[in-house]
Amino acid sequence: MIGIRISKATIVACLGSLGSILCGLLVVGLFLLLAGRNPINIYSGIFASAFGDNFAISETLVAATPVMFCALAVAVAGRVGLMNIGVEGQLLAGAIGSTFVALAMPETTPAWLMLSLMCISGCLCGALWSAIPAVLKVGLNVNETIVSLLLNYVAVLVLEFLIHGPWQDPTNVSWPQTQAFPACAELLHMPESRLHLGFFIAVVIGIALAILLAKTAIGFRANVIGANPEAAKYAHYKVNRYLIAAMLVSGAVAALAGFSQVSAIEGRLRSGISPGYGYTGFLVCWLARQNPIAIIFTSVLLGGFLSGADNLQLTEKLPFATVNILEGAIFLFLLGSESSLKRLAEKMQLRLPSKNVTSPPEPTPTQPVNLETSEAGA
């Protein structure tokens, strides 16, 4: 495993992520104090409503699901060196694609067929949405970060157009949303909870991605491309193909978040199906250093923040934006610590070979090649 054997660097990375989260909590706590609230009460409240009992945990996992999909999507692109900040838009594209099937198919369609068609259609739409920055990147070397970011806003507008226009629920024109999906379009749930199959799909994708990246030739090449695309080109890897494929897969995985949200949670398409899951996913991916397994756990943690914040609105009368502020603070600390962490990791790496450095073995070629031979050939 390429990523895991470099253990000291991994430790430094973990410390950096944990430290960023703690610092974020600390700074936001300071603001809460200034606002006259007791941060300890509020944080323990968040914790209790996120992990306090079985129901809380299941709600946390529900909130973690789209975040996990999105973070994995960011990681797929990130490992080949692409910055896909458009997962939010790809999520929405996925939701739109799934909704199209749910509305178009007859209500009597068997559930397995309905769901697989919704899933496929969603993934195709997500991949299509991410194909735009991918093709522009490979073809014209346009910065994929900016294109994918801007497409987020386009996706929101397309969704708004659909639910205000052609797809609006004809029976209730006062709400910008589609009509409720038929029963066969609802993703499998755990009994007596909102926890749905999507969560497990996300975990499986995470594990599969981890294996792909660490163990297979495809993953190996992806890692090399991510670390240095020039070196990959020089080793005759098909770099452009990898970049496009990674971006398409990234879009498709993000789309799964949209699919599972409309199918399992909302039961219809409406605006605001994603309170920024894509951006939270981006944060999670960075906190987890693009490591799929770490993403699974970090998503659950951030899912806890999200679901805890829901309760915060009720019990503490704090706006939901508190969590956004918290996320922002964590991200700032993470970015700020990046360069110093790198230095720290390098220092630790340098200390590794301490036994050997003072006296490297003298290489002695068996048959020395002449160095001073200006006259040898003349």
């Binding site: 240095n228 070196a231 005759h236 200390r351 050997n356 160095l371 001073e372 050939g377 003349a378």
Partner: protein, 533 residues
């Protein structure tokens, strides 16, 4: 202190015309002496400088030589204020100088030209010279200052174009620009770190002549280099460092180059032997009238005719940027040809030689993946081999085994598979890359300046490996700006000029002078002696 106008005038008077007539300026110049007194510097367990004491006088170039890791860079970094010595002190004319920061060093008139040039390619020469000039006022009249810069450059005898972006300048001109940048800031102690490693013999001579003249005008010029011949030719005194210790400071006039080399490596590796002559076997590839198109990054190649056979090492010489790198990339299958024919093994026409060739690029950063482990980096090429994976899963034991082999046979320290590749030093990394490429089964080996930045012993080892590869039936194409390296290693040398092959020499007729002529474009004598005077 930034140079004031009056100071500039003073210098103009001192330096004026010295480039053409050195003798007139050396008169009545007060000698300056820079001395290192028991300087020690340790990084963790590594002793970089161990009680280094010696003196440097103005008036002539003082060279510091030594293998990789001998402590040259540390010493120069102490002098330019980047590091503080653990013990010991530096004296200028008997008074101790305190160097706590690069800024302080700069104020004392100490400046360094780094091996990796610190110029901004998109800015003009003027802008690069003025960039970070502490004497520049907040608001200034650009044209006026540029005129001053221009005048000063002409006074000092620099003839490069200051108004075009640095990216348009050749490497030698950039080197000169770096030197001029220091002179503009009134630098009196110049440290040149490997100034000629990227240059051809002509260019090197030009740059070193400038350095020699600057020294003659009363500056202290310190030359850090691997090239023993340069030292013998341009430096008056030379200090040999080995493993952090100052071995000896000698007059080059009273010493010969073999002894100097021996002092550097402390082994008998320098016993000269005859060049092993490779026996040419079957043709591995042949290029016939091959042309490539120019791109933003690459020069066009025109009408290349070249055949390389099994068992031979073919050298490619040329002034930097004459198309050598492109020729290497073409053979490695990284450039598309626009016309001409490529014949692969057994004289069969083929579109590209990429499956037959392995390639060590001229720029190290193009050849490795920084965040990944040494093991992964040693496997970058092998992963494409069908036997490298089962059902798409990489055989990690094979990967580690191969990495271990490369680590052992190329003496890579630290000898660990799992360290990130970027934790290795430049020399170790270069060996890893060369080891990886040679461990492929490719019949054609293309190595673009593989010994850049390696010390003498390791360079010899690499050349030996290349010869060995040829003896084992491979065909080696060695691209190098270093004619001596080519002469010592190759069976045949082709010389590139302006994108095409301008001359060929066989081993039995190798002649430094005529090779240098080919490099200059035309076999005219004026080009060899062509100092810019």
């Amino acid at each position: 202190m930034p140079p004031t106008r009056s100071q500039l005038k003073k210098h103009a008077a001192l330096d004026g015309s010295h480039l053409s007539d050195r003798a007139s300026t050396t008169v009545e110049k007060q000698k300056r002496v820079l001395s290192f007194n028991s300087v020690c510097k340790q990084f963790g367990p590594v002793i970089a400088n161990d009680n280094v004491s010696f003196e440097i006088e103005s008036g002539s170039i003082h060279a510091i030589v030594g293998e990789n890791g001998a402590g040259k860079s540390t010493l120069s970094k102490i002098l330019s204020g980047y590091y503080r010595p653990d013990k010991g002190a530096i004296y200028l004319n008997g008074t101790e100088v305190v160097l706590n920061s690069p800024t302080q060093a700069r104020q004392l008139g100490i400046g360094m030209v780094h091996q990796q040039l610190a110029l901004v390619p998109s800015l003009t020469g003027f802008e690069n010279v003025l960039l970070g000039d502490p004497g520049l006022p907040f608001a200034f009249h650009k044209k006026e200052i540029e005129k001053k810069v221009m005048l000063r450059a002409r006074e000092l005898g620099f003839d490069f174009d200051l108004s075009s972006p640095v990216s348009n300048l050749g490497i030698a001109e950039r080197q000169k620009l770096e030197i001029f940048k220091l002179l503009w800031r009134d630098t009196q102690i110049l440290i040149l770190d490997e100034p000629t490693s990227q240059l051809t013999p002509f260019e090197a001579e030009e740059v070193l002549t400038i350095a020699e003249n600057l020294a003659a005008a009363g500056r202290i010029v310190i030359l850090i280099t691997h090239h023993i011949n340069e030292v013998m030719k341009f430096a008056k005194r030379v200090t040999v460092l080995r493993k952090g210790k100052c071995i000896k400071t000698v007059d080059t006039a009273k010493f010969n180059s073999d002894d100097l080399a021996k002092l550097m490596v402390d082994s008998n590796a320098f016993i000269p032997t005859a060049v092993p002559q490779g026996l040419s076997g079957a043709s591995l590839f042949r290029l016939e009238n091959v042309c490539t198109k120019a791109t933003a990054k690459h020069k066009a190649l025109s009408n290349i005719n070249l055949e390389v056979c099994a068992g031979e090492v073919v050298g490619v010489a040329g002034i930097s940027g004459s198309g050598q790198a492109e020729l290497g990339m073409l053979i490695a299958g990284l450039l598309e040809l626009s016309s001409g024919i490529i014949f692969g093994a057994a004289n069969e026409r083929s579109r590209s030689l990429k499956d037959l060739a392995c390639y060590v690029p001229g720029e190290q950063k193009l050849a490795y993946a920084p965040g990944l482990s040494v093991a992964a980096n040693s496997f970058i090429r092998s992963v494409n081999r069908p036997g490298a994976h089962t059902l798409g899963f990489v055989k990690s034991s094979l990967m580690r085994q191969q990495a271990q082999q490369i680590i052992e046979s190329f003496v890579i320290t630290p000898s660990l598979c799992d360290v990130a590749a970027n934790a290795l030093s430049g020399g170790n990394l270069q060996r890893l890359i060369i080891g990886r490429e040679l461990s492929t089964s490719a019949k054609i080996v293309v190595a673009d300046n593989p010994c850049a930045g390696l010390d003498a012993a390791m360079s010899m080892r690499i050349r030996h490996e290349l010869r060995q590869a040829a003896s084992a039936g491979r065909g080696v194409v060695l691209i190098s700006p270093d004619l001596e390296e080519l002469i010592a290693t190759c069976d045949r040398i082709v010389v590139m000029f302006n994108g095409s092959i301008n001359g060929v020499q066989q081993a039995d007729q190798f002649n430094y002078q005529s090779l240098a002529m080919f490099m200059g474009g035309k076999p005219e004598l004026s080009l060899i002696n062509g100092s810019k005077a």
